[in-house]
């Protein structure tokens, strides 16, 4: 067995299912599909008056990487606004080796995906859905 993509931290994130589900009264929602692999993410957010995320939930029909990413995102999204999510996006891009610099937590966990280009979209999909919802 060679290079391990599914390292314990990624599997643990996915199994934690942080934020899995729907919100009763979301301010915004967005859905993203990846037509190449069929992954699908729906993100619900409730925003406070200043545009910061008060609550977040996700439904993922997709692979473990997508689930882990959605859970990672949910674990750090509350209290952030558009710019704050942009910062997380940079962490993700850095973890995947698409941007220079060191990735912050929790996205540093996705460093093993660096070597697997075809799976990187799986990690980014929840972020893209959330950014759609906020835009």
């Amino acid at each position: 067995m060679s290079d391990q993509l599914y390292q314990d931290r990624i599997v643990a994130l996915a199994k934690a299912k942080t934020g899995a589900g729907k919100l009763a009264a979301p301010t915004k929602s967005a859905r993203r599909d990846n037509p190449l692999c069929g992954d699908r993410v729906i993100i619900d957010v409730r925003l406070d008056d200043t545009g910061h995320i008060a609550e977040i939930a996700h439904q993922v029909r997709g692979c473990l990487l997508c689930q882990a990413s959605a859970a990672a995102l949910s674990s750090v999204a509350v209290g952030r606004d558009k710019a704050g999510i942009e910062a997380i996006r940079h962490d993700a891009e850095r973890a995947l080796g698409r941007e220079d610099g060191e990735a912050g937590e929790p996205y540093a966990a996705f460093a093993p995906v660096k070597a697997h280009k075809s799976r990187q979209e799986c990690v980014l999909l929840p972020l893209e859905a959330l950014q759609d919802a906020l835009s």
Binding site: C37, G38, C63
Partner: protein
Amino acid sequence: MSFSVAAVRRQFPILSEIIDGQPVHYLDNGASAQTPDAVLDAVRAYETTGRANVLRGVHRLAERATEAYETARIEVATFLGVEPLEVVFTGGCTAAINLVAYSYGSLLKPGDRILLSELEHHSNIVPWQLLRARSGVELDMIPVTVEGRIDLDALPRLLTPRTRLISLAHVSNVTGALLDIRAVVTLAKTIGAKVMLDGAQRAPHGPLDLPALGVDFYAFAGHKAYGPNGVGVLWARPELLEAMPPFHGGGSMIGRVTLAETTFAPPPRRFEAGTPPIGQAIGLGAACKWMRGLDWTAAHAHEMALVQRLMDGLQKIDGTQILGPASLQSRYPVVSFMLDGVHPHDVAQTLDSFGVAVRAGHHCCQPLMDRFDIDGTTRVSMAPYNDNTDIDALLSGVQHAARTLR
């Protein structure tokens, strides 16, 4: 003719590569098969000792190239059991189906019907949907049984006097199910409909006798049949080819071009506009010849023994489910499965870390996935060069995924 897996494997250079420190357990043949020395050598000989354009040259390289190209047509024709002039070289299987959809399709009238099935590859659905949008033909869909076969019991009620064409996969690229062609052809004849087979997944498993099958069109891809990419084949009955208008326009497919009007060459040239994929056709000819050199009774038995070993192994892993016929009857060596609680991409990715190449996802069969309400499967597709070690490596990987990812 004889069959020895070891002897076959030795002819495929990639199978003895060590890639990222691991041997290659290549079980993604349904997507693209590997290619033997015989094909690599034929292409290289063209590229380095006979490269030229075909048909119009009088110099010796052009004569060599033309001869090699037309010999390839003969090889393909022999492989299919048909006449060389009935064989059209195209850019691939998809291109061959599009040729029929545009050219033969232009002869159809609004209200004419084309019958497909729910298990068709997108390449045998979308060209007809595009034709529908252009010309007002209607599409009907044969449903698929729980076993993943085209439900031929539904055929009589789906056939109408306006049904002109039935286009179906000879072998499913997801379930491995073999079509009962005789049943289809018999019913089609009663209303005068033509039958087209998408042979992409059948051609890689040995020679055919198309006249005996009684079909009207047959399409397949080079790269899945041990040949190069960028080449495919359309066979059609000569009277159909004769009646069909050109599709692509360009050099070589013409009789006489004037600014006012143009006449066209007879088939197959009418459908081979521009410089054809010469080296690729030569490679495909070599692949057909290579296939004809195998003992397919033995090779098929070998492939199906691998299927049995795979199915047996999967059954021992908790939460696996096979999408497709459970028996080995009327089936080719393509096996799709689901592993409860693990996404197919994660199965395939785990397998990759065991050096095992398989495909995961919808396999360009979204309507079939919808039929079973799933996102995708993990697909194992075999060739004669696969062996028990490939299957065992795969089973270890699936076990590992089952243990660690859920």
